[in-house]
């Protein structure tokens, strides 16, 4: 039993108090993170869990990690998450009713099973060695010790990680950077084009979605005065997604014909 193996390494009471307060809180927060509707709330809860973990690190003689956890993770990474959440829409929330049939009960069973099994297994695990503690390892200071490892034993990994960072930067560039390939026409250009164009039909500007339609929806093209649908009235994104509803049933001419 791991407990016996670690018996000699019992920690001081303050850490126990800390653990028993923050540990359950972290787990509960994690559960809450699953339950809340709004993504932002999840993010805040996650940030809280991370801070908890940072405290745990510090409690476990990993002061450097604790700080880095707060700075890098909670500070930088979670901010990034929040940024993106804002981009996507802070108010966005998802309905918690499950759409994939049967997944919810399976997930609950899986959660109980997986968690239970893990806890049970850890309960049964023993470590062949004695509990050591980091007093020796951290003798020269945690940061120094870590630095010693990082820059000698793990220097290769350390160097290689830089490639990862560049990849990330490059990836973000590729996917997010929207450089101008062709000069966008200015408003003046457009206006000129409208009136100097071959037809004055569009001089009045584009029709709004569903303006003349019998069906008031964004995915149905508006009807031009002559009754034909205006493809220009539909968002190009919708078209690309194939979400455009066929406008024929809504055409005036078609309906008139039906009545006759």
């Amino acid at each position: 039993m791991i407990h016996q193996a670690l018996a000699m390494g019992h920690t001081q009471t303050p850490e126990a108090v800390l653990f028993w307060v923050l540990g359950p809180l972290a787990v509960l927060s994690a559960l809450a993170m699953l339950m809340v509707k709004k993504a932002v709330h999840s993010a805040i809860l996650l940030a809280w869990i991370m801070i908890t973990l940072a405290i745990f690190y510090i409690a476990q003689d990993a002061a450097f990690l604790g700080i880095v956890q707060v700075v890098v993770y909670t500070g930088a990474v979670m901010m990034l998450f929040l940024f993106i959440l804002m981009l996507v829409g802070v108010e966005s929330s998802e309905s918690l009713t499950e759409t994939i049939k049967g997944l919810r009960p399976i997930a609950i069973v899986a959660a109980l099973g997986f968690g239970g099994l893990l806890v049970s297994l850890i309960g049964h695990a023993t470590i062949g060695r004695a509990y050591v503690g980091l007093v020796d390892a951290n003798a020269g200071g945690n940061v120094q010790a870590l630095a010693g490892l990082l820059f000698s034993k793990y220097v290769w990994a350390f160097e290689v990680v830089s490639a990862l960072l560049i990849t990330a930067a490059l990836g973000a560039m590729v996917l997010a950077h929207n450089h101008r390939l062709i000069q966008r026409p200015t408003q003046r250009d457009l206006a000129t084009a409208r009136f100097r164009g071959t037809s004055l039909a569009r001089a009045a500007g584009l029709p709004g979605p569903g303006v003349y339609a019998l069906h008031n929806a964004v995915d149905v093209p508006a009807l031009l005065p002559d009754g034909t649908p205006s493809q220009a009235s539909i968002s190009a994104t919708l078209k690309a997604r194939g979400d455009v509803i066929d406008s024929r049933p809504f055409q005036l001419s078609a309906i008139e014909n039906e009545e006759e």
């Binding site: 899986a110 099973g113 297994l121």
Partner: protein, 629 residues
């Protein structure tokens, strides 16, 4: 003694057949002459060999010729070797002699047929095969000739195969023969397995060392072979249909030579049958049954060729009976075979002559009074008739009465039963043969005016005359001083059993003659003194109806073999597609089906994919949990 000329016996007609077949229409003009010459050449060789044999002392008469090693695998050694001993040479002379006559006859008979050349090719081929049959020095060589004549018979029966029934008849003959052949091959296998050899010489030498059981098995199988080829009960059904072939064929193959091969086989295998009494008895019983069976059918037939065919069946029954009586009967069986060869061939040629003159009409009820129009035919036919019913001193009298006599003297109940059957057969023979003669040549004319009966040309009647001479004289010739018996003695060890003689030759002759007279008389009353209707009367006894239908032999075969066979074939076809192939397709469908089913697990939702991973993880952890606890 070896001889280098034996092979020419076979080679000449074989060469003829090859030339005629390969040259095609180019030889149409001279093909028939060429074929006849080849046959005649073979006859000449046969005669010279016969003379050579005569010149040798009794023990050294057998001639052999080894051509090459045919099949040689392990201990299974078969040479392509020929053996002309006293038994074979009788057949050689009969085959080539009668064969040549029939070639001559056919020149005229087939003169209007466009395919006459092909006909002669087949005839030549038949002669070659038949000679191989009787000259082969081992069972396997014999087998080659044996199936060869079967093929020739098939080709000739189906010579006019554009007529579907004729083609069917040919097929039927071949298949029935094959059943017999199966017996022969089994016999050879058993012989090899038991005796380690299949040559006549080897089997003869070692037969005494084999168990009776094996010998009986061989004997029975040989009998099966004989029944197939010689149209014996129960494989007799094909012979009647075989009359579909041109009449010379019926004369040569289905009367004089091929059908007697069974008798040859049994006689040749005397060394086996003599050591296997059960098999020998079976032979005799089959012979007795067939001789009555054929005779009974013969009584009801209106088709002249079929009547003669039934008669042939019956007469071969006599021969088989004779051969089944062991050493006492072999010689007489062979004698009857030879005499029968003459008179039956003669009668068939006569029938052909009649048909030739009657626009190929075969129904005797449409003949009548033809003796005025065809005097030569009538005379030769009549002589054959007298021979077959056994009127002394014609040939049949000598041969048939001897068989009846030996049958009676076979001893015990067996002797009485067989003898009685043979005697009864003689009476029936007399009846139906008289019926044939009366219906054809006597009485009033029953043909319609379109027919212009006339005598056949010289080429046709000359062979008939020669054969008629044979039917008159051969019996006397063979029995004079037991000449044939002594001649054959080295081969078949004729030891007449006079111990416990039941009936003396004289008594048998008298009994036979009386019964023959009764038969003749009844026929005269029935057909000469009474009006013969043109159409066979329908109000006849069940017995007659059955006889007309060949004693229901075809119905029997149909019900017992053909129909179940057809059902089996159909059933197996269904089983093949539905069960075996179905199972294969089922497996394929299973794979495709499960593929389609499992494909649905790929829902497109990333969360369900994650669930798969998680499930895998849980399974792994659960396994660890189970293992470690």
């Amino acid at each position: 003694m070896t001889s280098n000329s034996l092979v020419y016996l076979i080679a000449l007609p074989l060469f003829g057949a090859a030339v005629l077949l390969l040259s095609g229409r180019r030889s149409d003009r001279w093909g028939h002459i060429f074929g006849t010459l080849m046959s005649a050449g073979s006859f000449a060789v046969g005669v010279s060999l016969f003379l050579k044999m005569l010149g040798n002392p009794t023990g050294e008469r057998a001639l052999t010729q080894k051509l090459f090693s045919w099949i040689s695998v392990g201990s299974f050694q078969v040479d392509a070797g020929l053996l002309a001993d006293q038994l074979s040479i009788c057949f050689v002379l009969l085959i080539t002699g009668v064969g040549t006559l029939i070639h001559v006859y056919s020149i005229a008979y087939m003169s209007h047929d466009l395919d006459r050349r092909r006909f002669f090719a087949y005839l030549n081929f038949f002669i070659a095969a038949m000679l191989l049959l009787v000259l082969g020095d081992s069972y396997l060589n014999l087998y080659v000739g044996w199936e060869g004549v079967g093929l020739a018979s098939y080709l000739l029966i189906g010579f006019w195969n554009q007529k579907p029934t004729y083609a069917t008849a040919a097929k039927k003959a071949f298949v029935a023969n094959r059943v017999g052949d199966m017996g022969l091959s089994l016999a050879i296998m058993i012989a090899f397995a038991t005796l380690g050899t299949v040559s006549f010489q080897g089997v003869k030498e070692h037969a005494s060392q084999a168990s009776t059981g094996s010998l009986t098995a061989i004997g029975i199988m040989l009998l099966v072979a004989a029944t197939g080829k010689s149209a014996q009960f129960p494989l007799q059904a094909w012979l009647g249909d075989a009359m579909a072939g041109p009449t010379p064929v019926s004369a040569l193959i289905h009367a004089a030579t091929m059908v007697t091969a069974g008798v040859y086989l049994i006689t040749r295998s005397n060394f086996i049958f003599d050591l296997a009494p059960t098999a020998q008895l079976a032979v005799a019983i089959i012979g007795a049954i067939t001789l009555l069976f054929g005779a009974i059918i013969g009584m009801a037939k209106d088709d002249i060729k079929k009547a003669l065919a039934a008669s042939t069946m019956s007469q071969i029954g006599y021969m088989v009976l004779g051969a089944g009586l062991g050493p006492a009967g072999y010689a007489f069986a062979i004698m009857h075979l030879l005499t029968h060869g003459f008179f039956k061939a003669g009668m068939f040629l006569g029938a052909g002559s009649v048909m030739h003159g009657m626009n190929d009409e075969v129904n005797m009820r449409r003949y009548g009074g033809l003796r005025k129009f065809m005097p030569i035919t009538f005379a030769t036919f009549g002589l054959g008739y007298l021979a077959i019913i056994g009127v002394p001193p014609f040939a049949g009298f000598y041969s048939k009465d001897k068989i009846i006599e030996v049958a009676f003297n076979a001893g015990g109940v067996k002797g009485i039963a067989l003898g009685t059957a043979a005697l009864l057969g003689a009476m029936i023979t007399a009846f139906y043969m008289t019926r044939v003669v009366i219906l054809t040549f006597a009485g009033s004319k029953r043909w319609d005016d379109k027919a212009h009966p006339h005598e056949s040309p010289f080429l046709m009647w000359a062979p008939m005359v020669l054969l008629a001479l044979g039917s008159v004289a051969s019996g006397f010739f063979f029995t004079h001083g037991n000449s044939l018996r002594n001649w054959l003695a080295p081969v078949v060890e004729a030891t007449p059993s006079h111990e416990g003689e039941l009936l003396s030759p004289a008594v048998v002759s008298i009994l036979a003659l009386v019964l023959v007279a009764i038969g003749v008389g009844y026929a005269i009353i029935k057909y000469l003194l009474n009006e013969v209707p043109q159409v066979a009367p329908a109000d006849v006894t069940v017995f007659t109806k059955a006889a007309r239908k060949d004693l229901l032999q075809d119905n029997f075969n149909e019900a017992v073999f053909m129909r179940p066979g057809q059902s089996l074939t159909r059933g197996l076809q269904v089983a093949d597609t539905k069960l075996i192939d179905g199972a294969v397709h089922g497996i394929a469908r299973l794979a495709i089906g499960s593929g389609n089913l499992l494909r649905k697990t790929q829902t497109g939702f990333v969360r369900s994919y994650a669930m798969w991973i998680l499930a895998g993880a849980i399974a792994l952890v659960a396994t660890i949990w189970v293992v470690t606890l």
